[in-house]
């Protein structure tokens, strides 16, 4: 949907390494992606695959030590963020790009009232008086559907439920009308019913302001709900990228298929078993030569153990890094070919 639009954010072969006692580990390895205005990109993968580090790289908030950007560029509206100083970056954070985190209960300062935190967020980048900031805070709470907003301003975080807190976090994130919002597992800590409400709210706010949205999740239900395009990550690399319908209809990478097979669905035949992906993600220190997924892959063959598959584009708007998928595509082409 957004292939022909100019991207707001463009990540170009980003390399993030962890500098540990056991050596330098490639936590994010050559990740490229882009998000356009009004578009939602989902980054999917298991814990430890580097999706959060990729997001923190955009904000330049990597935990250093041990993590550091060692290569690549992150262009926001054409400007590379990687070489910016902390002072310059502070102007970007919150105003141009905002981020919301996984656990709303711990993302709010427990000793500051909700209203004061919102006002701080507003006055961080906007030159308004205290009175104007209060009015804007009330308006923001209305926008994220918090009833009785005026009274809620004086509440402390422990007086709010998880869903309420996440609404406040979203209000803080959109306080300065950012062009890009990064949400790191925004619904993981919430009840399923609340999850749907929060996703709905984020969709609405995005449509109203045309901001780009990057949502990081391991929940394919969330992806189906909200995303336009999906990037699947495995062990620090992008293994597949596709528009959301295409991905669910025909996943190319065996890992993506595994993720889909392991997701419960109401439509699936009753009593049908979920298929797990056997094994676990290899540690970054013991990545095998060749494909990182080989030891868990049902389709792995000799080439996978020797060579690392590069990203190829077998279909328009899609890319995949898998020899087995390539072979499959070739045989399909041969089958329908003349």
């Amino acid at each position: 949907m957004a292939a022909d639009m100019t991207p707001i954010l463009e990540m170009d072969r980003l390399q993030v390494s962890l500098f540990t006692r056991r050596g330098v580990l490639p936590a994010v390895d050559g990740l490229s992606l882009s998000v356009a205005a009004g578009e939602t990109l989902a980054i999917v993968g298991e814990s430890g695959c580097g999706k959060t580090l990729a997001a923190l790289s955009v904000m330049q908030l990597l935990p250093d030590p041990p993590a550091r950007i060692v290569g690549g560029a992150i262009r926001f509206l054409g400007r590379d963020l990687v070489p910016l100083s902390d002072r310059e970056m502070r102007q970007v954070r919150g105003r141009d790009i905002s981020m919301i985190f996984q656990d709303p209960m711990t993302s709010l300062n427990p000793v500051v009232s909700v209203g004061d935190q919102l006002i701080e967020a507003i006055r961080q980048h906007m030159d308004v008086t205290h009175r104007e900031a209060i009015n804007r805070a009330i308006e923001l709470l209305h926008r994220v559907r918090i009833p009785d907003a005026e009274r809620r301003l004086g509440d402390y975080p422990h007086q709010m439920s998880g869903g309420m807190s996440q609404r406040v976090m979203i209000a803080m994130a959109i306080a300065c009308q950012p062009k890009l919002l990064i949400a790191d597992e925004p619904t993981t800590a919430l009840d399923v019913t609340i999850q749907a409400q929060i996703l709905e709210l984020m969709k609405e706010l995005q449509a109203a302001s045309d901001m780009g949205l990057i949502i990081i999740t391991h929940d394919l239900g969330v992806v189906a709900e909200i995303a336009d395009r999906v990037v699947v990550m495995y062990a620090g690399r992008k293994v597949e990228e596709a528009p959301v319908e295409a991905l669910f209809e025909r996943p190319l990478h065996p890992y993506t298929r595994g993720l889909l097979g392991a997701t419960p669905s109401a439509l699936r035949r009753r009593g049908g078993r979920l298929v797990e992906i056997s094994g676990s993600v290899p540690g970054l220190a013991e990545l095998p030569p060749g494909c990182a997924f080989q030891n868990r892959c049902p389709l792995a063959f000799d080439r996978c153990r020797q060579e690392r598959p590069a990203l190829t584009a077998p279909m328009p708007n899609r890319s995949v890094a898998c020899f087995a998928a390539e072979r499959e595509m070739l045989s399909n082409v041969a089958a329908v070919g003349p």
Partner: protein, 282 residues
């Protein structure tokens, strides 16, 4: 609604009877210090009567007179001013230094942490009393210098506590969220993390006051206090030669010091109970 955390704190503090007693005792000391200039407008170090009048013998000198014939009651009341002043300002000095050092060490980490903590340890290795005496000897025997000296030797514990608190708070998500909002480091340290780290620091600071009272007394006892102000420690020092005959000269200020320090410690414990979230709602 807004003030409920403070009221809640008061309620919890008042539930602790020992802390309440300490609070009342301190109020009495503060009261003495406050009314001293009106009640006894003359210089407490002036000789006003016969030497060595025992307490409760003369209505003019309810607590008696010392070996020179100075009014002990006046010296106790004016001494309360000295003691509280030094205790309070030394504690403020120690807290300012300690919180700055501990907060920057934990927040910035790395070599800054390493450097600041080695610096702190250096201060910890020097015996406190000797250090205070050295500073007073170098700077001069004035009230301000004694205060600064006591502050300089008392900040290390606060620095280490603040560092520990900051270390656990630094990686919390709300700090990350503030950084993602574009806040500067100083604002995050002072405006966001410090309010969370403050309760245990306040407790320790209140205990530093009682430590400072003892330091001041020790310095004055050794004759290195400010000679121009009345001081409980100084009075004990002056009376020590007569301890066999007129022991009350040492005993009266001794009891004053003991009660004040006891009260401060009780308050410290009470604050700890009232501010410690783990003990809440018990």
């Amino acid at each position: 609604m807004r003030f409920s955390p403070f009221l809640d704190f008061c309620r919890r503090f008042a539930r602790n009877h020992a802390a309440l007693l300490g609070f009342v005792l301190i109020l009495v000391v503060i009261g003495c210090a406050a009314v001293a200039p009106w009640l006894m407008p003359r210089d407490p170090l002036r000789i006003v009567g016969r030497a060595e009048i025992w307490p409760f013998q003369s209505w003019r000198f309810p607590l008696g007179t010392d070996s020179l014939g100075r009014d002990i009651a006046a010296m106790i009341m004016y001494g309360a001013r000295t003691t509280l002043l030094i205790g309070l300002f030394a504690s403020v000095t120690a807290t300012l230094i300690g919180v700055s050092v501990g907060a920057s060490a934990a927040y910035f980490g790395g070599w800054i942490d390493e450097l600041l903590m080695r610096f702190t340890e250096l201060f910890q290795t020097i015996p406190s009393l000797i250090f205070v005496l050295t500073i007073v000897a170098v700077l001069g025997q004035k009230l301000e210098y004694v205060t600064v000296a006591v502050g300089i030797v008392s900040w290390t514990a606060i620095a280490r506590l603040t560092r520990a608190e900051f270390l656990s708070l630094r990686d919390r998500e709300f700090v990350q969220a503030c950084r993602a909002m574009g806040m500067s480091n100083l604002r995050i340290i002072v405006g966001e993390i410090l309010p969370n780290a403050l309760p245990p620091v306040i407790v320790l600071s209140s205990l530093v006051i009682s430590g400072a009272v003892l330091f001041e007394s020790a310095v004055a006892f050794l004759g290195l206090g400010d000679p121009n102000v009345a001081s409980w420690g100084g009075l004990i020092g002056d009376g020590r030669t007569l301890i066999r005959t007129s022991w009350y000269i040492c005993a009266v200020p001794g009891i004053a010091i003991m009660l004040t320090v006891l009260a401060l410690n009780l308050i410290g414990d009470g604050l700890n109970d009232a501010l410690n979230p783990k003990l809440r709602d018990r």
